[in-house]
């Protein structure tokens, strides 16, 4: 593939162990993000005596983030650079990039939406901490899902040798 940037991208270490650990870490981060918001939701139902509770509005940003993560990581990586090969069909790379853009937009929209909910629902009415924590949990949860997606993406792009597949 012809180089586009003047600075070369640093080569990631090619290790099957590192790749596997990255995928596990990604799942752990996703779980952390999901359970942060679930914890806030259960807490607001069971322990919090205030009049502000977690509703579907707080869940929508996280759902957007999860959908974006699903879209991003469903794309076949090799199709993104498929234009340089002759056997790829009509604009497969273009379609892949469009879908990828929609995935990133969903994910960033999720994070921005969580920040919006935090500000509009909790910060502007100036609620004290345990209630304010619901909004913070939403933001941190979306950020965790985003981080999980980044880790999954990077660890799947780690170049691996064929020995990995053969040793299975």
């Amino acid at each position: 593939m012809s180089r586009l940037w003047r600075f070369p991208v640093p080569k990631l270490p090619s290790s099957a162990v590192l790749r596997t650990a990255g995928v596990y870490t990604s799942g752990a981060l996703f779980s952390l993000g999901f359970f942060l918001l679930l914890d806030a939701s259960v807490y607001s139902k069971h322990a919090n005596g205030g009049d502000v509770h977690i509703t579907i509005v707080d869940w929508i940003p996280l759902i957007c983030s999860i959908l974006g993560m699903l879209v991003i990581n469903s794309i076949e990586r090799s199709r993104l650079v498929a234009d340089s090969y002759s056997y790829s069909g009509n604009g497969v790379a273009w379609k892949a990039k469009l879908v990828l853009f929609m995935g990133f937009a969903l994910m960033a929209g999720g994070l921005a939406g969580a920040a919006t909910v935090l500000i509009m629902k909790y910060v502007v009415p100036a609620y004290p901490w345990p209630t304010l924590g619901f909004g913070v949990a939403g933001v941190v949860g979306s950020a965790c899902v985003m981080l999980s997606s980044v880790v999954l993406w990077v660890s799947q792009n780690i170049e691996e040798d064929y020995t990995y597949n053969l040793s299975l």
């Binding site: 596990y24 990604s26 799942g27 752990a28 996703f30 359970f35 069971h46 691996e160 597949n165």
Partner: protein, 127 residues
Amino acid sequence: MAGLKTIIALSFVLAIGFLLVILSSALYANYYPLLVVATYILAPLPNAVCARCSSPDDFIDGSGNGVLDFGRFLTGFFVVMGIALPALLAHSGIIVVPAMVMSIIGGLLIYGTIISFTMFFQEESDF
């Protein structure tokens, strides 16, 4: 390396893990911590299923790797869920903190037993 002593030690650890989880439920007459056992028994399943579903001999394209990675992702999800679920219940005041501690330790012991059992006895059973 994997002899009779390993089996005995692993079964002891498994029994201690179950003891802790059941104690954390029964002491406080609140059976939510038993969910941890279900989580940790579920945790090794995605790897086992996805290892069968993937095609390891197709090493040209590496198309089986997506399924494998999905299994690992789910495993990581379940392992953190086993820790996060008691913490969530304790934070919300549904279970008390000692029950949380006991169920987390017991769950980790159970999961460690399952993992080390498959690690010790994989070669004999597979080939």
